[in-house]
């Protein structure tokens, strides 16, 4: 049964968490993710769900409590953004290093300073090396769907890694959209009862989590994490396949739009993909063979699939809503460039940073990017590899 609602991104994230009903949620409010925590704690207070809601004194404590709950054998979830994610930093590595399948919503927001509450990806992109799976969502529907699909991925017996579901602060978190929700029972059945492989509360099998691990074993445990990431794409696709059967909505590791015959293409993630899709249509009307590649799963990075998908393009632009200051482009650009570098004919690449601190990426901005790409495709020359767009000079 389909239930159609007009909800904000934050409301659907809270709704997904209510339907999942994890054993423990430990969270600390931070704009623009506050409403998720607020709505969810309301569900708990109203007695709708039995989740243990832990109101903690910081995000460091929130993630620590999730680690404790997950190690005990519970299903743990949390929500954060920007500086809150930064405050979780060391515990992010404890979650992945201890192989705890915690699920977290990250409502993407710019890192201070200067203080700014609006969208960019400097928070979650900074955490890309922390051993977490990262899934990015274009709109509220995807935020809801991705959150429900997240737990079976994280809890897959070959994976056992924590997972972040990201969506854009304010643009998605505070905008009302038409969203199709599943029935409570459908979600419960989809995520299933959590049966932890390793649990501290399994008293028949006493065990130790987090002992000292020095030169003789540490690198072996890191190699295991590397291996676990290799199982993630299959787990993501398996979860998506089951979800499609339930919802009719299809998901992959990436999504392409008019890319198959494109000469020029934009690679982007999260909400900017929506505007880009509209501009692709506009370009096609003008006879420009434009396409879009939206990355859904950024960690692990589906390098081979992305390289294959872009192999026929003459020129591509990778747009990052995050800078890696001093480098020659943002994190997505670097990953994409690495992915395509061994293709027989490597497309020319433009790398642009856009939209920091919530600056809009307008239709005209994307039209300009396609204009630049057309020039590169025609001449075979890249005049400027890396620059900021959507910035005043």
């Amino acid at each position: 049964m389909k239930r159609v609602v007009a909800y904000t991104g934050n409301e659907v994230a809270a709704e997904a968490m209510r339907q999942i009903e994890p054993d423990v949620v430990a969270a600390y409010p931070i704009t623009p993710a506050t409403e998720v925590v607020q709505a969810f704690s309301g569900f708990v207070s109203d007695g709708l769900i039995q989740t243990e809601m832990m109101t903690v004194e910081s995000e460091h404590s929130a993630m620590s409590a999730c680690v404790g709950a997950a190690a005990a054998g519970g299903r743990a979830m949390t929500v954060t953004a920007a500086n809150g994610l930064a405050l979780m930093w060391e515990i992010l590595y404890c979650a992945s290093g201890n192989r705890l399948p915690i699920a977290m919503t990250v409502v993407n927001r710019a890192m201070s300073a200067p203080i700014n509450i609006h969208c960019d990806h400097s928070d979650s992109m900074g955490a890309r090396d922390s051993g977490w799976i990262q899934i990015y969502s274009e709109n509220a529907q995807e935020a809801y769907d991705n959150l429900i699909m997240a737990l079976p991925i994280a809890e897959d017996k070959n994976v056992l890694l924590p997972i972040m579901v990201c969506f854009d602060g304010f643009i998605i978190s505070h905008s009302i959209e038409r969203v199709e929700l599943l029935e409570d029972k459908e979600v419960k059945d989809f995520v299933g009862e959590y049966k932890p492989q390793f649990a501290l509360l399994d008293l028949e099998h006493p065990k130790t989590f987090g002992p000292l691990d020095l030169q003789d074993y540490y690198i072996e445990h890191k190699r295991q994490q590397h291996e676990a990431m290799k199982f993630v794409p299959d787990a993501v696709l398996a979860s998506a396949k089951r979800f499609e059967a339930l919802s009719g909505r299809k998901y992959g590791l990436i999504e392409t739009y008019k890319l198959d015959d494109a000469d020029v293409a934009i690679v982007v993630l999260n909400s900017a993909a929506g505007s880009t899709r509209a501009v692709v249509d506009k370009m096609r009307e003008q006879g420009i063979k434009a396409g879009l590649l939206k990355i859904r799963m950024f960690r692990p990075f589906p390098a081979e699939l992305i390289a294959q998908s872009l192999a026929h393009c003459k020129a591509i632009a990778v747009l990052d809503r995050c800078d890696s200051f001093g480098a020659q482009g943002g994190p997505v650009a670097h990953e994409v460039r690495s992915a395509i570098c061994n293709l027989p004919k490597v497309p020319k690449v433009i790398q642009s940073v856009y939209g920091l601190g919530g600056r809009d990426l307008n239709i005209e901005d994307i039209v300009d990017v396609f204009g630049d790409l057309k020039k590169v495709a025609d001449t075979g020359k890249v005049e400027k590899v890396f620059d900021y767009i959507t910035v005043r000079s």
Binding site: G97, N98, R99, L100, F198, K207, E220, H221, Q224
Partner: protein, 97 residues
């Protein structure tokens, strides 16, 4: 590093220790720079050393001290210092190789 240690495919994930109490297999006796020597003739079996020993290295049978487990004893000297002044059944001597 010893080549005999298991590889990444053969160890529990996440650094977990799945076998309870396996620290007993770890020889910490090699850390010792001084060694407690027990004199059974002086010992009054008050078991103060057994209470204080942080490594469970005081061996006891039927409520009587029987010896010291040098496989685990790190030579901290707590046993010698808590042995009553009038007894002094444990003395620390420099470890020689």
């Amino acid at each position: 590093m010893s080549e005999k240690l298991p590889g990444w495919k053969d160890i529990p994930i996440g650094g977990m220790i799945l076998e309870a109490g396996n620290a007993a297999k770890y020889e910490t006796g090699t850390w010792r720079s001084s060694k407690p020597i027990w004199d059974p003739d002086k010992c009054i079996h008050c078991l103060q050393c057994w209470i204080y020993c942080p490594d469970s290295s005081i061996q006891v049978k039927n409520e009587k001290m029987t010896g010291i487990d040098y496989f685990h004893c790190k030579g901290c000297g707590l046993c010698a210092s808590v042995c009553p002044d009038k007894v002094q059944a444990i003395t620390m001597v420099i470890e020689e190789t």
